[in-house]
């Protein structure tokens, strides 16, 4: 290349330098961390964006900043919120989306669609259903010194690991799109100065149809996924309370088809350590056996009741249908017809070892 060519080539990047998109400086944007949706009426809904702002100064604590607006689409709401905010709203870091229970009962298809369509939204995003208005949860003071948004995210995240089934936007979408399963989301409520995970919201397609209690959510987790580090309390026939700790459990769903009739069976294997048995001799093999059978009974009874309820509501959050689909002789029409009446057995196999540091 001669000198002229070199000059031409070096000129192009200089000319293009003016075309770069405007840089985003962290201090100059409004980073939204939580988003809430509330029901207004059949057409409109209210959106609330929670973000925190750290004022200049060394000792300053983050200040909670909340914006809300009502509109028919998420985009419209975002525009209105933008009109209120002093800095451009950025949604790339949203970590938690709260749906108000009433809105969830009317369906959350629009909101879900706008979440999954936006390329800047991640898939680890947490979705929850709240008993109160989402706005009241985001626009509140908690006893934590952390920013409100971070506190809300931490509470839900911690529970997803230990007490309720792990679900994020991706998991929700997998269940939502599946023809043979229905989604579920954690249920939260505000209690004084705390936020509390209080169970699960069960969906049929995009509509909330049922909620289950915190205790049942735990049984749900046992049936739904493999996990470790759980905890389970049970009352023995003699009235003594025992807790199983360091619980690890592994579920297995089996779907059979005989003469065109489907049956399903859950086989749950639970291992744990017996702890905290006042007045109980945990070194005695008989006591351990009593604990084991009590836990088994408890799991089976509660699980059967829960599964029955799902069948009555014709919803399948435990994805039994997905398991049935994996059979080569699967017929979706037959399955849909039979699901609410079919026989679903629950088997639990609990294995407890004594523990604690005193005998």
């Amino acid at each position: 290349m001669n000198v002229k060519n070199y000059l031409c080539c070096s000129l192009i990047p200089i000319l293009l330098a003016g075309c770069t998109p405007s840089p985003k400086v962290l201090e100059d944007i409004q980073l939204v961390q939580t988003f809430g949706y509330d029901y207004v009426n059949g057409e409109e809904f209210e959106g609330t964006a929670g973000s925190s702002n750290i004022p200049p100064g060394e000792q300053s604590l983050p200040v909670n900043e909340v914006f809300s607006a009502t509109g028919k689409t998420s985009k419209r709401i975002r525009q209105k919120i933008q009109a209120e905010a002093a800095r451009p709203i950025v949604v790339g870091r949203v970590g938690l989306v709260i749906f108000n229970q009433e809105l969830a009962e009317h369906g959350i298809e629009n909101q879900i669609d706008s979440l999954q369509r936006n390329p800047s939204i991640g898939r680890k995003l947490l979705l929850v259903v709240s008993k109160e208005k989402a706005k009241d949860i985001i626009d509140a003071n908690y006893s934590q010194s952390d920013s409100v948004s971070q506190y809300l995210i931490d509470v839900v995240e911690q529970n997803l690991e230990q007490t309720i089934p792990d679900v994020n936007l991706h998991r929700f979408l997998v269940h939502y799109y599946s023809k043979d399963a229905d989604p579920f989301l954690p249920l939260i409520e505000k209690q004084g100065k705390h936020l509390k995970v209080s169970g699960l919201g069960i969906f049929k397609d995009d509509k909330l149809v049922d909620t289950i209690s915190f205790g049942d959510a735990y049984i749900f987790k046992i049936l739904y996924e493999k996990f470790r580090r759980g905890q389970f309390e049970v009352e023995l026939s003699g009235g003594e309370d025992v807790s199983l700790e360091n619980l690890s459990s592994k579920p297995k769903i089996q779907v059979d088809k005989r003469n065109g009739k489907y049956t399903a069976a859950f086989k749950v294997k639970v291992n744990g350590r017996a702890m905290e048995g006042v007045d109980l001799d945990l070194t005695d093999k008989k006591t351990i056996e009593r604990i084991e059978s009590a836990v088994e009974k408890e799991i089976i009874e509660r699980a059967e009741k829960m599964v029955k309820r799902f069948q009555e509501l014709n919803t399948d959050p435990l994805r039994i249908g997905e398991k049935a689909r994996q059979r080569s002789d699967f017929n979706r029409k037959e399955w849909k017809e039979q699901y609410s009446q079919m026989e679903i057995k629950i088997e639990a196999d609990v294995n407890a070892v004594q523990s604690g540091i005193i005998e």
Binding site: P21, G122, R123, K124, R171, Y177, Q326, S328
Partner: protein
């Protein structure tokens, strides 16, 4: 009439591995899963194997033609069909190579615009990429080979992030294993073949390989490696997405990256898309190189001025394609042409060459 390139312009036979593999892995891999799943459901991975096997067969056919002709497609065409008819077919071939570069460039810019820079207009990216491709292609075939070598190398670490979606895997998704009818599988195989297109550029760069016949095994390795990459990608995508969910996901491989959770990077897609540029660049470079080299062989123009013309054309046509539908249409058109070329034209050419050589000898 068609002189062979000088010895110092040639590359070693094993570079064919990189050239062919780089050409086959392009923009297609960012979203091929959806297309094959729409045809054959989650049994579509079988289609990857069947179409891959057919490509191996076609590479064999290509080498038979090339080894016998011992020159590029322009010379072989002229030898078999004469100056005018042969020249006409060669011209179509090089238009195809040009269109290939166009499709890759435009599809990648679309991804860039939708995912990373919605506020930047597309001509800026197009200009930058063409400028870059031009500067590489003017360096000659050895530089283009270097680009494809680096493209393959830079793309490999992206395989590591497949680990993240596997944490959310439902392996049961793959069951039942054979759930598609042969017709559905055939349709999916046909669609999958489009992702293996690009090895035809071999017909242009064959004379640039030292000891051409020796490179055959490297070509097979290149195709096998592509099959492996596609299979792995499809496997991870299938266990991660629900089937119905996947059918609505345009760029499944990109959406997959959304679950990647690195400490300092919230959105891995941005890095992934940027790194993927190095996998795209060889496609555009090789396409442009083949097209300009063909022009130089057919018409009395230098390769450099032919390249300049093609770059200008590439720029203006890319700008004219503005929406998804047009890009889709172009993709379909090019892949249909490619499909018929490799499955019908290449075997016919082999037979024709055999007959004419026999006749000429006699």
């Amino acid at each position: 009439m068609f002189p062979l390139p000088k010895e110092d312009k040639k590359v070693s036979p094993y570079f064919v591995f990189y050239l062919i593999h780089a050409m086959q892995i392009g923009v297609g891999i960012l979203g091929f899963e959806r297309i094959i799943v729409q045809s054959a459901g989650y049994s579509a991975w079988i289609a990857i194997l069947t179409s891959g096997a057919s490509i191996i067969g076609l590479v064999w056919v290509s080498y038979r033609i090339l080894n016998k002709g011992n020159n590029d497609i322009v010379a072989i065409h002229a030898e078999i069909m004469g100056k005018w008819i042969g020249g006409f077919f060669s011209f179509i071939f090089l238009l195809y190579f040009f269109a290939f570069a166009l499709v890759v460039l435009r599809s990648y810019v679309e991804v860039l615009q939708v995912w990373v820079f919605p506020e930047v207009s597309e001509w800026i990216f197009i200009l930058i990429i063409i400028f870059l491709a031009y500067s590489y292609v003017t360096g000659g075939f050895r530089v283009v080979t270097g680009v494809s070598y680096l493209g393959v190398l830079y793309g490999l670490p992206l395989l590591l992030v497949k680990f993240y979606p596997l944490q959310y895997a439902d392996y049961g998704n793959l069951l039942p294993i054979l759930n598609a009818s042969p017709a559905e599988l055939f349709k999916a195989s046909k669609e999958m073949t489009l992702n293996f297109l690009g090895f035809e550029t071999l017909f242009m760069f064959y004379p640039f390989i030292k000891d051409g016949p020796k490179s055959e095994k490297w070509a097979y390795f290149g195709v096998l490696f592509s099959i492996f990459i596609y299979l792995l990608t499809a496997f991870v995508t299938f266990v991660y997405f629900n089937q119905e969910q996947l059918k609505g996901t345009i760029w499944a491989t990109l959406t997959l990256w959304k679950i990647v959770d690195l400490i300092i990077v919230e959105r891995f897609e941005y890095i992934g898309i940027s790194v993927w540029f190095f996998a795209i660049l060889p496609n555009i470079c090789i396409g442009l190189w083949c097209a300009s080299r063909g022009m130089n062989r057919l018409f009395p123009v230098s390769q450099r001025s032919a390249l300049r013309i093609f770059c200008l054309l590439l720029f203006f046509i890319s700008i004219l394609l503005t929406d998804r539908q047009q890009i889709d249409l172009l993709q379909k058109a090019v892949s249909q042409i490619g499909l018929y070329t490799i499955y019908f034209y290449l075997p016919c050419l082999l037979v024709l060459q055999y007959i004419i050589m026999k006749v000429k000898k006699a």
